[in-house]
Symmetry: D2
Subunit: 386 residues, 4 copies
């Protein structure tokens, strides 16, 4: 398998990031199957046609059902709004297409499970877009843990702090609407933390959480791009139906304790997706705003030179780094998508499931919903209940 023919549904923030990944792979990862950018699909014909041209897709399409049934497509990449994931994924699996689906996999655990079942029934490959796993510094953390270099893990603490809606006049964009987004900071940001925890520490057994919507009404929106938006200027307001912030504690199956916080109300934090892990032999710290760096500490260092060391994960010893630039020449956000797609394409080539896949999407969703239940019922919830 030298190439994979892709049909992509969605063309906004994530659609752009994915498109760029497809474009860069042949240049920087020439031994990976070449993605062929067959068609991009969206409801707004003019917009999708414009995106097709700008992003480099062969065709623009508006009917995703037609797209998923085409013979000349191997992989369906789903980055449409979250509420559309399930229907598309099940249809595409039914048509025998491999699946790449942005996170969150679905709006509910039940939906996520249906999607996984459909993919398994169809025997197709499936991947879910937890891109932050693919920062080389995160890969290094995984490697250190996997090799036992941090010892037994005692603590995982993570925060995903943003501040783009601190201003109460920021409008009521779709990400603040539960019917489209499913949840707010919890599903958008917390989901990444949960996946990171699962990737690095393992499964959780129980959770207890808390959430809040600090600004309960906002101006109705005009247009939105990325995380920016303008108000409609109409003076009307509507209710925010998702959480502004969600925090929870957990226990992991291996005995570690976890602390999680996702918020869009942390002034000064544009994108502090951060974690720290403490083990019996050492610790690691990561902050996505300095995504090329991992802070690493070893208890076994000589007594007079113990301290967190700042590892710039751009050396040949670091994952993916040899595809890029010399040591010290950093990479950015978009590279996480490139690496993620490399994993997807390699897995197809090697006829194995990519990682993370729909199983991971389901398990992440189970934790998300366990936290939501914990909040609703104000109690500890076992993940096993879900």
């Amino acid at each position: 398998m030298n190439q994979v023919r892709v049909g992509m549904i969605g063309y906004k923030f994530m659609g752009k990031a994915h498109s760029h990944a497809y474009r860069d792979i042949p240049m920087f990862f020439p031994n990976t199957p070449r993605p062929v950018m067959k068609a991009i699909c969206g409801r707004n014909e003019e917009a999708v046609r414009q995106a097709a041209g700008q992003f480099g897709w062969e065709e623009a399409a508006t009917d995703w059902r037609e797209l998923v049934s085409r013979d000349d497509i191997d992989l369906i990449d789903i980055n449409a709004p979250s509420d559309a994931h399930k229907e598309i994924a099940i249809a595409a699996a039914g048509a025998g297409k491999h699946l790449f689906c942005e996170k969150p996999l679905a709006l509910t655990l039940a939906d996520a499970r249906e999607m996984l079942a459909a993919a398994e029934t169809a025997g197709v490959k499936h991947m879910v877009g937890f891109n932050y796993r693919f920062a080389p510094a995160v890969q290094l953390a995984r490697k250190l843990i996997g090799e036992g270099r941090l010892g037994r893990i005692y603590h995982f603490r993570a925060t995903f702090l943003q501040d783009w809606i601190v201003d109460p006049e920021f409008p009521l964009v779709w990400r603040l609407d539960k019917t489209i987004a499913g949840s707010g900071a919890h599903g958008d940001l917390g989901a990444h933390l949960i996946d990171m925890a699962r990737f690095l520490v393992g499964e959780m057994t129980e959770v207890v959480g808390m959430s809040e919507t600090f600004v309960k009404e906002r101006p109705l929106p005009g247009s939105m791009t990325g995380l920016s938006a303008t108000g409609s200027g109409s003076g009307s307001k509507g209710p925010v139906t998702v959480d502004d912030a969600t925090l929870f504690l957990c226990r992991f199956a291996n005995g570690a304790l976890g602390s999680f916080e996702a918020t869009r109300f942390a002034a000064g934090h544009r994108c502090t997706n951060s974690f720290e892990i403490n083990g019996s032999l050492g610790s690691v710290k990561f902050d996505f705003e300095r995504m090329n760096e991992l802070q690493v500490y070893f208890t076994g260092d000589p007594a007079d030179v113990q301290g967190f060391r700042r590892v710039l994960a751009t050396d040949p010893a670091h994952a993916y780094s040899e595809a890029w630039w010399p040591p010290g020449h950093t990479i950015g956000y978009e590279h996480t998508f490139i690496h993620e797609m490399v994993e997807c394409l390699k897995a197809l080539q090697e006829n194995r499931q990519p990682v993370p896949n729909f199983h991971d999407g389901v398990l992440c969703q189970a934790v998300l919903e366990a936290v939501e239940r914990s909040i609703a019922e104000k109690r500890w919830v076992q993940i096993g209940e879900m």
Copy 2:
């Protein structure tokens, strides 16, 4: 009032820190009433005599009951082991002495309340030793919040991370014995976080927590100084009866959300007593390992130069700083005790209650116990229940 005659009970880690504070005050705070170091008291006659000489006390004593009843003493400074606080404080209050008591005020909320009642009945002044409030950088945080410069507070998150018992061969010192210490990381470290939260954000209304003892048995101890110790070498082990780590979430009365973590198992962290506060107009961050610094962010900064600024709280504009050295010349841990004692002595001079006082000790203890109950009963606990 130009001087305050002090009798101090306790002569180890805290006794040394307090003694040094008394010694430094006349030199650096000449307008503060001069503490007269009358007598230091402890059970081990030889050790307390040695301490008296080394620390500069006029006399050494072994009978605290006699000490608290002396006519030539105005203030009793209690930094004996925590299980002795209550009895001493009540007796000293009964003898009409003003009280300075190290934290934790007592081993239980009931005891703390008794102590407060005794002090109030006796009409004496009382202070509790939450020294971290007195770092100039923390005072700056308080000032910014008090002046409304951070706006409405949304988040408080704090960790007190240490690593001195990560090694499972570290011996079973008194701080790991519930009968003496009351609790482990929670009461020792978490208490400081709770006080900081109350100082900066206000009262909490409900909590839910989790704790763990990772290493359940340890070698019996030899001797201990500060946080260092040696094993007895006997090969025997005993049970650790306190928590190694305690985490909890809370809601504050003003609507803010809080996250707390105290642990002695965070490899690489010697003394990360840290907090971050996010408000509608700005944020602050503090880490005691860089205690002279406060990170400050304002949402109102010009759009192109928004960012956390590192304020070195050594300028004339910062609390206590003019007593010390020129800007940029930092101070250390011990200075928090000096400032704390300045507050105590000034309050006596001004005939007002020092802050923080036994009320703060009681309210801190209430949160500590609410968290413990939450852990024991695995549920959210209202502070009002306590």
Copy 3:
């Protein structure tokens, strides 16, 4: 002008970076003239053919003279080894092609001047590849200075620290050979610092320098990619003919003082291209290893919150940022080339000289050679002497 047809000579480290820039521009800067990747040229036919395929060029070529005379090419991009720049540039200018030339413009000031004269005589546009100017954080520094927000400039200090040849067994690659590279750390790294100084502070008037080759002989090389290489294993050694480190001091025309250091012997620094500027109203600091950040200080901040603020230059207020991702989502090394090429293409569209251009290349070279003369003659050298 909607497109620019490019012929590129060179296909290694810089050739890859430039190719990627051409590929990304239509996607992220759709309003910039579209670069058409006509032909890539190099001496090794197989290698250049492979590069053409991998990087996305329409054709591979081996004869640069033929390439520069083609009618269907508008812009010649020269990133061949430095010793070939002059001949190519002059020929291409003679053929009426616009020029993009990697730094250093030439191996000598005389050559650089000849190239500039040729370009001016031909009336073509010319640009030189000082890519670091195009980091958004650097652009912010420029903007702050240009708007007078730092006041009168007193100090510029800059270091470009690398460590890839600290190991004395690292082989004698072409960058260590004066006949090909012209100079060592000075021309390779110092040139970037000089350009940055000129960009941010202005022209220098006099310099005094010092240099050293710490490891005077090295194993003969095998192959090299980027900054990595392997020894030939033959056991033979050859002389290092360039500087390992060069430092110099300067005065600027505006009265500021400058300090420069370029070295490949700073263990622990992979790519510390850093500067700090102090003015009467404020200061800025930059380190390329954290290229998305600019540290900014203003003397006019309120007395209690003065401090360097860490500005993450990913907000809409920052140059180029709106073409990329939401705030806090960082970019990397390669983006400096994309922005640089955007400037080149826009200048062609607007029929103006790009900045920086061959004038800047000449002026940078004049400083480089003044420093070399200062070292050779062990004295202060006026830039005007050159």
Copy 4:
């Protein structure tokens, strides 16, 4: 020898720092000879009497000639204004007193040599106050170098950046008057860098420098304390006769290259006394504003975890730390003086010369003057010329 009787001449910024050191030593370094604070001396009787009381000296004196001839004094501590050092030191040595002299030892190299000769002739002990050597983090740097753990040293770069006179309205205090202060940033700040370089890397062989006085006239002063001052309000101005900033390059005898910068015009830097050293096996970085930390890098670390580690020099493995608080509990500026005095007192006890002593003062002064000559004559100057 269990005690050392001290007479101190000077009672301002340094007098206070030294007094505090004498007060703290018996408490924290009980095995060091106890300093007996016999008499403090200054010209203003009222002020010195006030200082005696506040700082804890037995007597106040106004005639230093009488003081240095008293029989009941062992050590004369000279921290009077720099222009008075020589006369006092020579007289005190003549009277057989041991000497502690603040830096700069003298205003000229010739004077410094006379002072050294006088001390040697008299056979007394002599120390010079380069207090920054005594930060535990600096001691760690020295230890790593001494043990060969950084290998061969290639680079030393240091800056002492302050900003207290950036405001052109800051008055013309004595530190800006050449007749009293000898020089400006160079002698005040640069001297510390030179001593640090000598302590860590060794002797220099040649230098070339540059200096500037950016603000050439200032308002006549009112009063000054520490580094703060107020203008007289008279509207009159006077000439600044010292350098605002001095930079120089050097070669060390061991082949290393050095870069030095001292300035009072670096906005945002209150006290950035910093250095970095790069060796063949590793590097260290220090910044006095974070004086408890040393950044340490080793080339021999495993390939995937190379990076500067932040060592908090508060562990038992670090110099002086066991006298203070548990790991992670930092110390401040004043502690450098305490450690310095411990060295002085121990040397007296052990009947050896303290380090650094007048030899170091002389050698530092030789470099200072070589730089001044280099500036005056605009050429490289050999230290051997001096």
